[in-house]
Assembly symmetry: none
Homo-oligomer: 381 residues x 2
DNA sequence: TTGAGGGGTGAATCCGACG
DNA sequence: GCGTCGGATTCACCCCTCA
């Protein structure tokens, strides 16, 4: 859980994010969430330091200069972030069409491996006042692993599915802007930060791609939404922010956050982390008996249970299965519930737990219900 | 209207699109729509949960050695496209996270000026079978002008607004994949092209950013969706396609398209925003009465009209609706015709005007007919 | 005719623990 | 690090069959 590295956990460090990241230990952070500045230089006239206007020398070159400096900045902070990410770490960036294409390209050039681009669809975007374009109603996030080669990354599939009415979470997220009481205001009622992100956005990001106790670093901490949500969700944060006023506002904001209880946070446990139950256990415990015959749901194939927890299936199709006598070895496929299920179907793989059924009281039941029964017993102990 | 330049109008040229573009006169084309290879980097096979194989895009034209070679290709075709665009021309590109960030960056480097990035949200995307990522449920389009300095570009604001319930068209478009009878199949029933785009997508693109008679060039013509929609909408097309089989299929497809009448096209183009009619107006005018019950077309859901022009629907399904007494607040969903329609269906959005029906003389009529009636009155005044 | 149900399929960077 | 193998994993829509 990364308490080893002397990380400045649950703190905001004030300074240049590239410098600060370069001083942190490498491979120490689970996630980076970044909301970098958009390339604001692209707007109006380009002025020299003495305020004279750069005149039509070569617009393309000027543009290249603008983009080049933004690209250089982007390469630097993304490189620094990659150094401090753990091998199984990941990174999120958010941006708009002004900068996200530069960021995405550079990400890929640096060896990050894209997992998804995610669209934040705004319920309440600013309209296009002049009627010259489509209402710019979304922003783009990129979710990427530290590298293509890395073994694993965190994705809490079940939690995301639960958040989305028990259907897979899609790559387009409909969320309102940060307004109302969530929006930080100063004593004069002026908004503290121009681009404060909604907590719901970070909630989804952190819930999807971190586990409780893990460390998320935000190099452009701003008003501290990342920290506030991390604290609420039982994650640790490191905030980097150049502007002291922002950092102080964020600090106060986070201090007021009440963390969720551990029970609430762990509520959704992934299926794939449930304890493994060998099929043989079902036989050992007498839930299934050696010699019993299993069928697929539509009774196209059958297989007989052997005492060691393997199955044996006849070679061709077999509509009735049994009646071979008791221990006869009639030259069939032998193996695990999975491999025999795959073999009879001629498939590459098969989940034997859901494929094979057994008859009880005239009903056809998947053998997985016996596994669930054993898991329930294990959980109760 | 560009009949000056000896362009190969309404034709498909077979060959390398960069060569072909370089042979066309410069500044001769109004719009470029491009659906370049995405540079997917697929590993082995992907199996569905039922063990069937996903028919992925493994065509030679989508394989590049590395990002550098993809970038070089992208720079070349985008440069060639820019040369043949008129000074007030524009370009659309579509892509996915695999390539769109490279394309977007290079666009900007070459001097194109982004107007919007547009998200095509798919109603029916392929699920993520392994549960390892978010469902990749969208693709990204970039709409850009030839240069930042250009005076004008075409944007049919009113037509877009009319297409979107009289509200500004947003940058996220919800459209289904190209399936069913629209999808080109060969005599064996196999899809002709692996990535055929839906006509509705091109319809919106061309309606938004071209005028009748203008020329749209598609350098990756494929199955010819751009040409088919251009012909239907009274635009001219130039298709460039390397693969002769694709070109022939596209040719046949386009020949079968029946162009809309000029009157229809002009109507679309000139369509003024129709006056907004609040639902409450129908109640005010007595066309509908408070307490009346609305149904969806198939009478699966119902809602009662309240005096203020909102609806109230019972929480669960309700086949008969009424008989609650007059002003009772029996704990249902309350809101606009649109929000209640969405809520009862569990949908994110709903056009209440076409969703809700009312019974008149034993017939079920959409409430939109009353809006039309009021609009007719307003137009007559 | 209509409805229920089964099968097919779409631009996809789609596994990981354990020995 | 690599091979083995257990076993987890899908949504909307269209078409067809059959009752």
């Amino acid at each position: 859980m990364s308490r080893d590295k002397n990380l400045p956990l649950d703190q905001i460090l004030v300074g240049d994010c590239i410098d600060l990241m370069n001083r942190l230990p490498e491979r120490s952070v689970d996630l980076v969430f970044a909301d970098p500045p958009y390339n604001l230089q692209l707007g109006g006239d380009l002025l020299r330091p003495n305020n004279s206007r750069v005149d039509g020398v070569d617009d393309a070159w000027d543009r290249f200069d603008d983009f080049a400096s933004y690209d250089k900045f982007t390469r630097e902070w993304l490189s620094a972030a990659r150094r401090i990410l753990k091998d199984d770490g990941a990174l999120w960036v958010i941006g708009s069409y002004h900068n996200i294409f530069r960021v995405g390209s550079i990400l890929q050039d640096l060896g990050y491996w894209m997992l998804n681009d995610v669209i934040w669809r705004k319920t309440n975007p600013m309209p296009n006042f002049r009627g010259r374009r489509f209402t710019n109603a979304h922003e783009t996030l990129i979710w990427c692993a530290r590298s293509k080669e890395q073994k694993r990354y965190t994705f809490n599939y079940e939690a995301m599915k639960a958040l989305n009415e028990d259907q897979q979470m899609r790559s387009d997220w409909l969320l309102p802007l940060c307004t109302g009481s969530e929006r930080l205001k100063d004593s004069a009622g002026k908004k503290v930060h121009p681009t404060q992100k909604p907590e719901a956005l970070l909630y989804r990001v952190l819930l999807a791609s971190t586990n409780p106790g893990e460390v998320v670093l935000d190099p452009f901490f701003g008003s501290g939404t990342t920290g506030a949500v991390a604290r609420a969700l039982g994650r640790r944060y490191i905030g980097l922010e150049r502007d002291l006023a922002y950092a102080e506002a964020a600090q106060n904001r986070i201090a007021a956050v009440k963390p969720m209880t551990e029970a609430d946070i762990v509520a959704l446990r992934a299926k794939r982390t449930e304890p493994r139950v060998p099929f043989g256990t079902l036989v050992e415990r007498g839930l299934l008996k050696p010699g019993e015959v299993l069928f697929d749901e539509r009774r196209r194939w059958s297989a007989r249970i052997r005492a060691d927890g393997t199955l044996i299936a006849p070679l061709g199709r077999d509509l009735e299965g049994g009646r071979d006598g008791d221990g006869s070895q009639d030259g069939g496929v032998v193996g695990s519930i999975h491999s025999v299920g795959a073999a009879v179907q001629g498939a590459q793989a098969c989940n034997g737990w859901t494929f094979w059924h057994v008859t009880r009281d005239g009903m056809s039941l998947p053998i997985d219900i016996f596994r669930q029964q054993i898991r329930a017993e294990l959980a109760g102990e």
